[in-house]
Symmetry: C2
Subunit: 661 residues, 2 copies
Amino acid sequence: MNPDITRERQNASFDVEKLTYILDGGPEKTKRRRQIEALVFSDPDFHEDDPNFLSRSERYDQAVRKSAQMVLKLREYGIADPEEIYYYKSMVRGNQQEPFGLHVVMFIPSLRRLCDPQQAKKWLPLAESFQVLGTYAQTEMGHGTHLRGLETTATYDPATQEFVLNSPTVSSIKWWPGGLGKTSNHAIVLAQLYSLGNCHGLHAFIVPIRDMKTHEPLPGIVVGDIGPKFGFNEVDNGFLKLENVRIPRENMMMKYSKVEPDGTYVKPPSSKLTYGTMVFVRSMIVGESARTLSKSCTIAIRYSAVRHQSEIRPGEPEPQILDYQTQQYKLFPLLSMAYAFTFVGQYMTEIYHRISEDISQGDFNQLPELHALSAGLKAFTTWETNSAIEVCRMSCGGHGYSRSSALPDIYVEFTPTCTYEGENTVMMLQTARYLVKSYRQAEKGQQLSGIVSYLNESQNRRVQPQAVASRRPLVDINDLSSLVQVYQQRAATLVEMAAKSIQQELQRRKSQEDAWNNSAIDLVRASDAHCHYVVVKVFNDKLKGVGDTAIHSVLSTLALLYAMHGITKNSGDFLQTGLVSVPQVLQISVRIKELLSQLRPNVVALVDAFDIHDKKLNSVLGRYDGNVYENMFEWARRSPLNAAEVHESFQKYLKPLRSKL
Amino acid sequence: MNPDITRERQNASFDVEKLTYILDGGPEKTKRRRQIEALVFSDPDFHEDDPNFLSRSERYDQAVRKSAQMVLKLREYGIADPEEIYYYKSMVRGNQQEPFGLHVVMFIPSLRRLCDPQQAKKWLPLAESFQVLGTYAQTEMGHGTHLRGLETTATYDPATQEFVLNSPTVSSIKWWPGGLGKTSNHAIVLAQLYSLGNCHGLHAFIVPIRDMKTHEPLPGIVVGDIGPKFGFNEVDNGFLKLENVRIPRENMMMKYSKVEPDGTYVKPPSSKLTYGTMVFVRSMIVGESARTLSKSCTIAIRYSAVRHQSEIRPGEPEPQILDYQTQQYKLFPLLSMAYAFTFVGQYMTEIYHRISEDISQGDFNQLPELHALSAGLKAFTTWETNSAIEVCRMSCGGHGYSRSSALPDIYVEFTPTCTYEGENTVMMLQTARYLVKSYRQAEKGQQLSGIVSYLNESQNRRVQPQAVASRRPLVDINDLSSLVQVYQQRAATLVEMAAKSIQQELQRRKSQEDAWNNSAIDLVRASDAHCHYVVVKVFNDKLKGVGDTAIHSVLSTLALLYAMHGITKNSGDFLQTGLVSVPQVLQISVRIKELLSQLRPNVVALVDAFDIHDKKLNSVLGRYDGNVYENMFEWARRSPLNAAEVHESFQKYLKPLRSKL
């Protein structure tokens, strides 16, 4: 054990294990989590060398092997609880993704959701026994978010009772679905349905793409991998070009709408949206942001405790870089954010379950709020985490660039969350739509409930930025509840400003749509402020339930740092709306420095409390024992470029070059 | 040619070619640049497939081949002007790096700088004929910026007249030098010199590390590649562990200091710093930021002109994503930044040459200013560009994640500039040291000249943040010169605040060093504001020399956008210091929207003016002809995972899995 890191642990003011229980949701959860970890990490079948030492094809190969083993082991151990499956998988994956992902997350659930009973009886057993391995092919090369724009066609041929599927243009080629390139033999294909000369819009079809025995692509199917990406090396994101591919009529997924044998189209009884899955996945991503940020902070903070550099006082030994104020200012606010997002992740899960319960009882009232909340928080937490990972990486100096630090992997595997499952700017605008709608309702005197209820008050206050600026603010900057109020009022003001911008555009005879687009900057800003408020509020609420005094104290410091740092970073907003005064902004800067010093002795313990197994972290810099350098040297020596002492390029190019000069 | 992008070009209000001349520094420069490009891109020896399709070892192999060819071709063509060599290399490299980099940039220049005449006569011809291929081994695993901390030892043995070199600890292993792992057969090693029992500090030694004939590592040398990194796949950044390696006394680089045969140490006549090289490299990096940002903007803006998505008005065709206000708000300020940094890069080069001239005439007066300027602007422009690349990438939606977009490569190859040649936070603090020193001089009544002369005025104003806040600002937000003043005053105020923070800490009986560290957040902020001011000022100055009315007009719009966007992003600073009022901040937000609309018709032409060759850009999304989708499909099909229709993992894992379920 590195002596610096041991000393850090001795200086902590709280019981790390107790904080881990809070983060896991209770000691039983911690225990079970560790059991599952032990299952994975003690299993020789999952031992492997660093994927960064392998070629793309080898990485894919290794990932398929692990995924196949995982399927067998989950059955062997009888792990069936979704949360536990998620956890087991996450340990097997390490910092990488897995190629069976969409089969489990999208293909099977879609079969359940969209097959009629007869279809379900046929396809589900095939899928569950992995005879059929499937993916969900929606996105096309030229079309993402906007589903109506999809170009793939499925034209019904009553003569043979088949659908004929086509990719009529290059931009209509299915593009991006995970597992489509090499792994899957079936795909659920989203296509515009044509029957008897009419287009009936987007429908789902089960399309066999590879031979079940030979795995060769079937006639008319052009399928393959879309090529190397920024991360996701383990996943064969694929393309699919359909050239007059015929599938039986029964392969249209007919739970809701149907095409009769003669070609008659039967509309779905209701166009109830499939909000559910999207909301679920987005809620999960909020938790994923928290876990990723926790990993990154663990690495950067442990390394900063071990690394010595330069000098603060001449003649003295090089200090731990954790003692530099600039390093603390980079990392501690991110640590506070990791805690904040962890609690927001828990909050999203709770809300999701509560509202799902309501929905299953036919109560859809809160669905729009849940939708807006999950969209906004998905965007807010992924954007923040995305930048934060890079701050963590760069705070590790040169070694942060080494793949042995794991930070490059963490970044490239995480960054797609900003785009997939709803592009972040689009998400922010969806949340804004809900906020503006709520604001208008409040304006009309309707009493809002739930998380937007603060917009009621703003109607009473009738905020005028200029007027407010001269008002004397009453906020106590050292009181977290008071800061929650400030964030709330900032959100209210920015929602109002966005709504007014739309109104002004309308008054200039702009259409509703152009007015919206011309106010989009303000709308995104309003959503951002709303989400920021929610995060601060949830952190504050969480504190109320923490009984242990020492833990309460350190979490309070973190919460205060999170809130204050957000104010300095956005001080323009707070000053502009008169919510905080100039002297208060200066006081907050001073207070932040004090909070950094106050947290300093606890930061290693605070990342320890995330309890991320060394094998999951897979980072030389973030090792629990702090023995960085020995292990970095060992790792480097295993690197494939060191397989031979003399690289072949010497004989091929360097020697001949000399003779030519 | 894609019709959307053709239409964009038709709508431009200015002559693109003329703007290119301005960016290149004159039509002759443009012509010569294109000649050099043609030499590279018409040369079949440099044809290659996308490096992203190759393994690490293949990438290194290909890069060595290209570097070797490049050496021969530069001689063949008689290209000798450093700027032209730089340009030729940059075209050969594409978005990647090259393994001979340090031999040319550090090894040979260090031989010139540190060898005595006899040594130079021996080593230079060997190095120039590539018999000796060298690198510069300074950084150790445990030691970066702080040179005094380096642990490698060189102990003189008078009995054999040799130095004995050792890496006494794991943390002393040389780590990171480019070309050290596999390519070089010599290294200039920085080590603590011991002679006759005394340590004389850091000195440079020429150490043979591989056999000149066989390229095998020599006895006592443990050398290899440090393993995969975030980018830099083409470069064999290496490690070097020295185990009682003996080199002749003559291999100590003896231009300044010496060790006599009997072990007597002769001090250097003066400890004149080697500021020069560092300043030069940092100035170059500022230009590199501009070029990288220009590439990223070219890709994102061209793609945004071609890509259609969703709908603004229902029923109408999907609009170009360039028409969304949020997309404009993401990209146009970055485009304005690309122009700003291009001009700042030119400015740095000019200043560097001017001051180098002074120095060569024995006038060192302006060296500290140049040092502070290059350090700060290196940090400022690389940090800004680093984030900007990712904004560009994410503005391309899913396809930005594909390696075919080139944006992932651009990011990973650029991001190390934030850390190497002076870690950015350290750089900002060095600039701050100069600013605070200048401030104190002005405080004592000394008249400052040069870029910091504005600190004279701040002494007259005696800024008090609170008092200023109530002052009525006189700034005309639509006048760029007026905004330059505002940026200047912000910098002055923040320098003053940082200086006062130090003073307050000192009054609390803190030591000078602790006071500095406890004010580091404020110091970095002050440097940042200073650099921001310089950028806005240089942009404004540049405009004065632009004669063409149409170009002057569009560049003025860009400059105004750059300045205004900086104010909204940092509105807290400007409000806090009372330099801009709340109503003005609101007006600026509205003006920014107008500027976005105003720029909209010209943005494709503005990136065209960077005139980045398609082969240099190497981006499917950023192609000049806008034919994105066809080429993306073609690129993907060449991907190695598509070499076989059925991947071997099917037989190995998927088939067996089924039989087990």
